[in-house]
């Protein structure tokens, strides 16, 4: 919990700062083009994947603690814990796949929505 | 090994080789000896760590000579002289000789004593403990800050956990079962009331150890806990067994004025000084050699004298001061942290900068259940009750005589607690169970029913308060025939009112209302014995100071009082017969007591 926490501070703050503060336009700038552009770079790919993994593991672990704390009925507790586990697994797999299989310049898409470098292809 | 239990007619029956009643220092010290060797049950009305041993502050005496020359012979002398020559000297020799191992035992069990520079157990001065037969105060008290009793209690409990001692917590022993076997009264077990459920339990034991502590609650202003109501002493008394030296009740000089909360003598051991209203160090007048470190009876008496003479402090001139201001914050915070906090919390007085208002407070019962040096309970001056043992404040060996020295009680509970445990287990290994009479629990059932179903209108708290007030007024540090007769008359009236007490809580679970009524019964019994014994002793000795007989009278009274109950039940006045028992003298002939 604690180790992941420290790393997460860097990752999430970097993420937020980059996306919401340091990019001109902030939230308005975040669109397919922007994110696609980021995800095309290995640096941001790894950044995001790491953030995803850690955040999900950290968050799920925290939720597990909370469920253990407050849910005393064994069946409900088991269901809740399973739900957290499955959600974590799905999200991690989904997120990882997307990050690495992502194609920033899909065929036949409206070029104005795509990152600027797609035009050069 | 026997360790069984069953339920018949709603009454629980248990069988253990050794049954110990009380889980204070004495009870647990006994349990640590007994439990590894035989099936042992400890019945206690409080969780063990709530016992009042935990309140003891100052220290435990032993002539370890860790910081200066000392010998157990000197310690014996001090104990005998401190007890105003009523101490049984052979018992005192055992006490002081075994003191040294008792301290090492505790240290080895883990007790965190304060240490000297070279890592040994540190020692401090205490009232009445002197070098070479009274030449000067000596450092003899082993201590752990001002929480020595706390550490002893915790350490003993920890070791009970280690040995897996079986505790019956919040079980009130209310009766002792004895039966005649071959013409001899022998012990068969104990009947107890379980607070949580209101159920009755009968514990059969080959041997039974009483370690139920004192009965300070016969007084209003006392350092004793609310739960110190003398149940164990009262139970034994009601069985027709004698009680010894009940008139000797110690008043500790330095109780927080008005509250009775204790400030340890260790404060004076560290150099604190008693002063009257004008700031005079009055103890210089009463005990020129050891001054503020004179034994408790002398200091308490001097303080009361100051107040009686109009030199008391405060708006009502009814207390004196304990002056610690010259000790410095450092000593107070490290060696006397708890009492510093008590003064701050309960009086709003900071001992670092201010003098603390103090006045004597009822503290310790020198008397109690008579035992021999093996902790066996006596049925008369010599005969023992086979299988029955007593140790600690409830017992009277008598190592404290007419006045206990500070730090000798924590010693007593360890030395005689250990002896009681050892002897009880040795006895249990050779003896058989004495058959439990079928009506064993009847007495308790009847007592409880009588109280619970009583239709009277008396209030337990009111009777108790009246008792405590008359005892405070009339049977305190100074007594005369007149005051004692007043107390006796008051007690007689209260005893008459007692059967009409009304119990408001009709429930079974945690019925503390009912138990306070039961406890009051014991208090009334014991207060009466204290007063009757005190009337009978027409001399002044140790803690028993008769204004009408201000001197010691060795000719007639150098002997122990033995009180017997010849009749009496709830509602029926008790009849008390008094007798004497000789003091055992070995080396020290009575002398005038000067400090």
């Amino acid at each position: 919990m604690r180790a992941s926490g420290v790393v997460l501070v860097v990752l999430i703050f970097g993420h937020l700062a980059y996306n919401l503060l340091w990019t001109p336009g902030g939230i308005h700038a975040v669109d397919f083009g922007f994110v696609g552009g980021k995800l095309a770079q290995p640096f941001w790919q790894w950044w995001d994947v790491l953030m995803l993994w850690l955040a999900i593991l950290h968050g799920s672990n925290g939720m597990r603690t909370i469920v253990n704390d407050y849910v005393h009925k064994p069946t409900i507790r088991a269901v809740a814990l399973w739900a957290i586990g499955i959600a974590a697994a799905i999200l991690i797999i989904l997120g990882t796949l997307i990050t690495f299989t992502f194609n920033p310049c899909p065929e036949g898409a409206d070029p104005s929505l795509l990152p600027s470098f797609c035009a050069e292809l | 090994m026997a360790d069984q239990s069953s339920v018949t007619d709603g009454i629980h029956y248990h069988q253990h080789d050794v049954v110990i009643v009380g889980a204070g220092g004495a009870g647990m010290r006994a349990a640590i000896e007994a439990a590894p060797k035989a099936s042992t049950a400890v019945i206690t009305k409080l969780y063990p760590t709530r016992s009042h041993t935990g309140a003891a502050q100052g220290g435990m005496a032993a002539a370890l000579a860790n910081v200066e020359e000392d010998s157990n012979e000197w310690h014996t002398y001090d104990t005998v002289k401190g007890g105003d020559y009523l101490t049984d000297q052979d018992s005192a020799e055992i006490l002081t000789r075994e003191a040294i191992d008792a301290v090492y035992d505790l240290e080895n069990m883990g007790l965190p004593f304060n240490r000297t520079e070279d890592g040994k157990i540190d020692q401090r001065r205490f009232g009445g403990h002197t070098r070479d037969h009274g030449k000067a105060p000596v450092r003899r008290a082993c201590y752990a800050a001002d929480r020595t009793g706390h550490m002893i209690l915790q350490t003993l409990y920890q070791n009970c956990v280690k040995h897996g001692v079986e505790f019956f917590n919040e079980f009130y022993a209310l009766d002792l079962v004895m039966a005649e076997v071959d013409g001899v009264q022998r012990v068969s077990g104990v009947v107890a009331y379980e607070l949580a459920t209101g159920e009755i339990h009968v514990f059969q034991g080959k041997s039974v150890v009483f370690a139920t502590g004192g009965f300070g609650k016969i007084y209003k202003t006392t350092s004793n806990a609310h739960t110190l109501t003398g149940d164990g002493v009262g139970i034994v008394w009601r069985k027709g067994l004698p009680l010894e030296d009940m008139e000797f009740y110690q008043f500790h000089p330095t109780g927080l004025a008005g509250l009775g909360i204790l400030l340890t003598e260790g404060a004076r051991g560290e150099g604190a000084i008693l002063r009257n209203a004008s700031g005079e160090r009055f103890m210089e007048r009463y005990a020129p050699t050891i001054k503020d470190l004179a034994p408790r009876d002398i200091v308490a008496r001097s303080m009361v004298q100051e107040v009686l003479d109009g030199r008391g402090a405060g708006p009502h001139k009814d207390y004196v001061y304990l002056d610690c201001t010259h000790l410095g914050a450092e000593v107070l915070e490290t060696k006397l942290p708890d009492i510093t906090e008590f003064a701050r919390t309960y009086l709003g007085v900071d001992p670092v900068t201010e003098r603390v208002p103090v006045y004597p407070t009822a503290h310790y019962a020198m008397g109690g259940i008579p035992t021999n040096n093996d902790a066996e309970v006596l049925l008369d001056n010599e005969t023992v009750v086979p299988g029955l043992y007593a140790a600690g404040e409830c017992a009277c060996v008598s190592v404290h005589g007419a006045n206990r020295l500070g730090t000798n009680s924590l010693l007593d509970i360890n030395v005689f607690g250990k002896r009681a445990g050892n002897n009880a287990v040795a006895y249990a290994q050779t003896a058989d169970f004495v058959d439990m009479p079928t009506d064993a629990a009847d007495g308790v059932v009847k007592l409880l029913a009588q109280l619970r179903e009583g239709s009277g209108s008396e209030n337990v708290a009111e009777i108790r308060k009246a008792l405590q007030e008359t005892m405070d007024r009339n049977a305190q540090v100074f007594r005369t025939d007149e005051t004692l007769q007043t107390a006796l008359a008051d007690i007689a009236v209260l005893r008459q009112r007692y059967p009409n007490v009304r119990i408001h809580d009709r429930g079974r679970r945690f019925n503390t209302d009912l138990l306070e009524a039961v406890e009051l019964g014991f208090l009334l019994d014991l207060a009466e014995i204290v007063v009757v014994s005190a009337i009978n002793r027409k001399e002044s000795r140790g803690a028993h100071m008769r204004d009408d007989f201000p001197t010691r009278d060795d000719e007639n009274y150098m002997q122990h009082t033995m009180a017997y109950r010849t009749a009496g039940e709830i509602g029926v006045p008790q009849e008390i017969r008094l007798d004497w028992k000789p003091v055992r003298v070995t080396h020290y002939e009575p002398q005038e007591r000067k400090y």
């Binding site: 604690r2 926490g5 420290v6 997460l8 501070v9 999430i12 703050f13 937020l16 919401l20 503060l21 990019t23 001109p24 336009g25 902030g26 939230i27 308005h28 700038a29 975040v30 669109d31 397919f32 083009g33 922007f34 994110v35 696609g36 995800l39 995803l52 955040a55 999900i56 968050g59 799920s60 925290g62 939720m63 909370i66 959600a87 999200l91 989904l94 997120g95 997307i98 299989t101 992502f102 899909p106 898409a109 409206d110 929505l113 795509l114 | 009277g456 209108s457 008396e458 209030n459 009111e462 008459q496 009112r497 059967p499 009409n500 009304r502 408001h504």
Partner: protein, 145 residues
């Protein structure tokens, strides 16, 4: 039997009932920071679930992704984002505090001070973030980049 009567008066047999049961434990900074940590942790967790799923739409099509992102851009959501970032910042800073308290004796001793330092940091960060972000949220869409 003695006739002395007691001054004891029993209270009303049906005692007045008050309307609540059990009081709230009145802990200090430590307890409330823990409560906040828990609440923010759960909040972020649920946001994360949604956030990963919406980001996943990026794999579906640019239009789909931009459609969800558009919802983030409306002013109500903009305020929500401030709350969210506030939660993250609080959780993160307090998380660091918890780590310090466990590992560093100074922090254990001065936990109260540390709590207020954390609060100060959170306030400072949010003072920086909120205006910047809200300007972005409320400023007209410039389009492109």
């Amino acid at each position: 039997m003695s006739e002395t009567s007691s001054s004891l008066t029993l209270p009303d047999p049906t005692p007045r009932k008050t309307t609540f049961s059990g009081t709230l434990y009145r802990g200090n900074e430590g307890m409330w920071s823990w409560v906040l940590h828990r609440i923010t942790g759960v909040a972020i967790y649920f946001f994360l679930l949604v956030h990963v799923l919406d980001t996943a739409l990026i794999r579906v099509s640019p239009e789909a992704y931009n459609a969800v992102m558009a919802t983030y851009k409306n002013p109500v959501m903009g305020l929500g984002e401030v709350v969210l970032v506030g939660a993250v910042v609080l959780h993160a800073m307090n998380g660091l505090r918890i780590i310090l308290v466990d590992a560093w004796p100074w922090a254990t001793k001065h936990q109260r001070l540390l709590f207020w330092i954390v609060m100060g940091l959170v306030a400072a960060l949010m003072l920086y973030f909120t205006p910047t972000h809200l300007i972005n949220v409320f400023s007209p869409i410039e389009g492109g980049h």
